[in-house]
């Protein structure tokens, strides 16, 4: 796979009366042709700025941006425009044309691309049907709900079958079912048409469902980049770990823990699930061998990139020695676990 987007040492600073803000800080990033790259990070980490640099809505303070074979940062505006026509963008704030109807908004990029009337109408109708807004075709944006606006933005960005799609919180205003539909569509256009997608999100379901790789931003920098499974299963920096933890809910929160404690007098141990055939069976066997009664009280197993991931909190009941023996056996088998004490997660 070749890189479709290549950022080299890209920095973007904003000068404000209260000092300089470094929104993106010396970022190197390749987005491979055909992949779906998820970008996560705290609010204000620089995610939106990063994608705006990709389609040259912002000029970097330093560094170069390549899209395909074009160095965007060196191209004259006219040539940049040609590149942008190949890039769809979904805006965090929607940025719909208030003077155009829903259909008019979606038709606009098609007009730019010179698509003729009959085909345009057809495509607009198909897209609106997909995002469930066919009956709002002649409404104006100020007559739409938040999620409806966002869906118009999605349809508009997809209208011209772009080579690259930049989606800035594309599903943040959508209910789970609509989100699932949109994600399925993104996955489909990615698979079937080979569209490369950069998707900013804070909804981990989005990452889990469609992303191939994930980049974690913190304070303008990309602090972690790798396959979704790798980053989620073995976060390498505390920031990432904290971020991932809030998502997977794999360890009980302090409040949950204190309630579990109250209800379950036995020892509480959270075991990290490995993508390994017969994993929970193995656990059951280990506990049975050591005559320890076990009971799952919290946690879950889910899928990430077609592999299992998760953690289960067991209540282990039995003589202290037996439990310790069982835990020692787990360690011996290379199984990761953590004993839950109330203070632990405080």
């Amino acid at each position: 796979m070749a890189a479709l987007v290549r950022l080299q040492n890209v920095t973007k600073q904003y000068r404000t009366p209260n000092g300089t803000v470094t929104a993106v800080d010396a970022v190197d990033l390749d987005v491979e042709q055909g992949e779906i790259l998820g970008v996560i990070g705290y609010s204000g980490a620089g995610k939106s700025t990063l994608v705006r640099l990709i389609n040259a809505l912002e000029k970097p303070t330093d560094g170069t941006v390549h899209v395909g074979n074009d160095e965007l940062t060196a191209l004259p505006e006219r040539r940049v425009r040609a590149v942008r026509r190949e890039i769809g963008m979904i805006f965090q704030q929607f940025n719909l044309f208030n003077s155009r109807t829903v259909a008019g908004n979606v038709a606009y990029p098609l007009k730019l691309a010179g698509v003729g009337q009959p085909e345009r109408d057809q495509r607009v109708a198909r897209l609106l049907d997909f995002v469930g807004l066919l009956e709002k075709a002649h409404s104006f944006p100020d007559q739409l709900s938040g999620g409806q606006k966002q869906r118009v933005g999605i349809a508009r960005a997809l209208a011209t079958d772009p080579k690259l799609l930049l989606a800035d919180e594309a599903t943040s205003a959508l209910d789970p079912e609509t989100t699932a539909d949109v994600l399925a569509l993104l996955k489909r256009v990615n698979r079937e048409l080979g569209i490369t997608i950069v998707v900013i999100t804070h909804e981990m379901d989005v990452i889990r469902t469609i992303a191939d790789r994930v980049a974690v931003m913190d304070n303008g920098r990309i602090v972690e980049l790798g396959s979704v499974y790798d980053v989620f299963s073995a976060p390498s920096t505390p920031t990432v770990a904290r971020f991932v933890a809030t998502v997977l809910h794999d360890r009980p929160s302090p409040e949950t823990l204190s309630r579990l404690r109250a209800a379950h007098p036995g020892r509480l141990v959270t075991v990290k699930v490995l993508d390994q055939k017969g994993f929970t069976g193995l656990l059951s066997r280990v506990f049975a061998e050591h005559h320890v009664e076990n009971q799952i009280v919290y946690g879950g197993i889910s899928e990430l990139q077609e592999r299992s991931i998760g953690a289960l909190t067991y209540e282990l009941t039995g003589p202290q020695a037996s439990v310790d023996g069982a835990l020692a056996a787990l360690t011996a088998q290379g199984i990761d676990y953590a004993e839950e004490r109330v203070e632990d997660n405080a």
Partner: protein, 219 residues
């Protein structure tokens, strides 16, 4: 009143002249002013076709014409008026001078109204690869249309006032009629009737402008 009756043909002619002056100048100054206004807006620092030099020059030029007394402006452009219109007097001459003069006012109105358009939508159009001209005509103007129409209505009313000045070069019009046949002769009925016609004309225009702008903004 009898005096006014004898002036009736002139009165009707004045109505006609006002209509011609106002509408023809509205069209010419509207188009020309729109273009200049777009240059003013577009070349502003930070905007679509940012160009400090062009901005500074346009800014200065636009302000040169407006404050200059009409008669001086008319005299200054006599050669141009004669070349373009064949004469510098009468309705033809007046339309030219007024159009040119008003264009610069229109430009400011246009600039003002475009400045208020949400930068987000311009960005969206840029992201789609639209060029500056395209953005101006298919995004900026439609998005700013409501206030823009009110701006043009403002200009329309201003043109009715300006049309009175056409009298100085034989252009006539209602305002001039009110002055010549009314004020100078202390003919109050003539003043009242003429002013009433002017006001009705203006109200109709404003009413229409308000209607259009409400339609454009849908509330």
């Amino acid at each position: 009143m009898n005096e006014f009756i004898s002036d009736l043909p002139t009165f009707y002619q004045s109505i006609w002249q006002t209509l011609v002056i106002v509408f023809v100048s509205l069209i010419f100054s509207g188009v020309l002013g729109l273009l200049i206004g777009i240059v003013l807006y577009g070349t502003r620092p930070g905007n679509l076709i940012e160009n400090r030099v062009a901005y500074a020059i346009t800014n200065v030029v636009v302000n040169i014409v407006r404050p200059v007394p009409f008669i001086i402006f008319v005299s200054a452009i006599v050669p141009l008026t004669i070349r373009v219109m064949g004469t510098f007097i009468g309705v033809r001459g007046a339309v030219f001078a007024i159009s040119l003069g008003a264009a610069f006012a229109v430009a400011r109105i246009v600039e003002q109204n475009l400045v208020g358009v949400d930068p987000g939508v311009i960005e969206a159009a840029r992201a789609m690869g639209a060029g500056p001209m395209r953005i101006i005509f298919t995004v900026l103007i439609p998005e700013g249309l409501g206030p823009l129409i009110l701006g043009y209505t403002f200009v329309f009313v201003g043109l009715v006032d300006m049309s009175a000045q056409a009298g100085a070069i034989g252009g006539g019009g209602l305002g001039n009629f009110a002055l010549t046949y009314g004020v100078q002769r202390y003919n109050y009925p003539a003043i009242y009737i003429t002013v009433a016609v002017i006001i009705v004309l203006v109200q109709l225009g404003q009413f229409f402008g308000n209607y259009l702008s409400r339609k454009a903004m849908r509330h």
